[in-house]
Assembly symmetry: C2
Homo-oligomer: 214 residues x 2
């Protein structure tokens, strides 16, 4: 008994340390990009030694995927809100605008996602990397898709699964644009105009996907 209790306490401590490392890494990765941040910097930011970091994560890549996963997990807080809410259109509007502004405020996030996507080919023979990708993407992105699908079902839309996929695609596409729009609009100031009014864009997405029944 006593041994088990102490093991649990040890596990709890370990989870807390992992959380501290993930938070510090997230802050740095999102601000400076995955490739430009060293484990030395993460050690300094988190107050946990490099050895401590590699005790909890086998590689920088594994830590990066844990950061992505923890970020995508945050969207799960929407699930109980959706279950309890009676104004589903309002919830949907919130999901859309939260996703869009998250992308704008965290350009480092989508860059990390893209960096890992490109790695899929480079690490084609690395089964461990594949497994980590599965963990990070599928177990986090599929639930996000399910959130959207359940909203389409409850809003009595036809083809809820496919529409959820199309909406996810649209939001991902727009997030990629916003990530690079500041840079590209240096050459083409007109480009920035498109993203001037995010609220307007979110309203239009609502109008397209959830037209009011007249």
């Amino acid at each position: 008994m006593c041994k088990m209790k102490s093991l649990n306490k040890k596990q709890q401590r370990s989870e807390k340390t992992k959380g501290t490392i993930i938070d510090a890494a997230k802050k740095l990765f999102f601000a400076h990009g995955f490739s430009d941040v060293s484990t030395e910097q993460i050690a300094k930011e988190s107050g946990i030694s490099k050895g401590g970091i590699f005790h909890h994560f086998s590689s920088k890549e594994e830590l990066g995927l844990s950061v992505l996963r923890s970020t995508l997990d945050d969207f799960k807080h929407l699930l109980p809100i959706i279950e309890e809410s009676e104004d589903l259109r309002a919830v949907m509007r919130m999901v859309i605008s939260e996703t869009m502004s998250f992308g704008r405020e965290n350009p480092g996030f989508i860059k990390m996602l893209i960096w890992f996507l490109l790695r899929i080919d480079e690490e084609a023979d690395n089964k461990k990397f594949y497994f980590m990708m599965k963990e990070a993407f599928l177990e986090s992105l599929l639930p996000y898709h399910q959130i959207l699908e359940s909203l389409f079902v409850r809003l009595e839309q036809t083809h809820p699964r496919e529409k959820a996929l199309l909406l996810m695609g649209l939001l991902d596409g727009i997030i990629i644009y916003t990530t690079y729009v500041d840079k590209l609009s240096k050459f083409e100031p007109e480009l920035a105009d498109y993203f001037d009014d995010f609220d307007n864009l979110a309203d239009l997405v609502m109008e397209l996907f959830f037209p009011k029944k007249e």
Copy 2:
């Protein structure tokens, strides 16, 4: 006069050689990915020496951007069709399904686009690279956006510019998914189901963006 004529012939020959190099590079880049193809391989495929390639393109990156640009330019063949067509809904349906199947058939294309997007940060101080990006992206993607916008205008939709942007985002997002879905669905066979019926997806996009007036 005679000198000018010979210069024009020289220019024509030069353009033809550039085209041959671009076609060979496109075939290899799309099949194996930008990073995995060497200029030696492009020389072999095109029948033009490495020296000849670097005479026409200052770097592999410049050649890569020319490949992207030439690919996006292909969409411009739609412009006269749109101008002349009377069944705009049918044209729109064609643009949507052509874009989706292009993405599925050319996974190398979107990977190259992504590779160059990531380079924007790495080459932040490289003005020449920035200028090439402007050439390749803005002068090719903005016309694509304009094609969509003009269709929305002619189909009498409100907010044509913003809707064109959202539709582009959606198509880009879906193309990214299709590029990686084969790999990710090794772990999650369910994922492949989403992309089983591309025709159905294109119909749904039409339904969302161009609802029939009742």
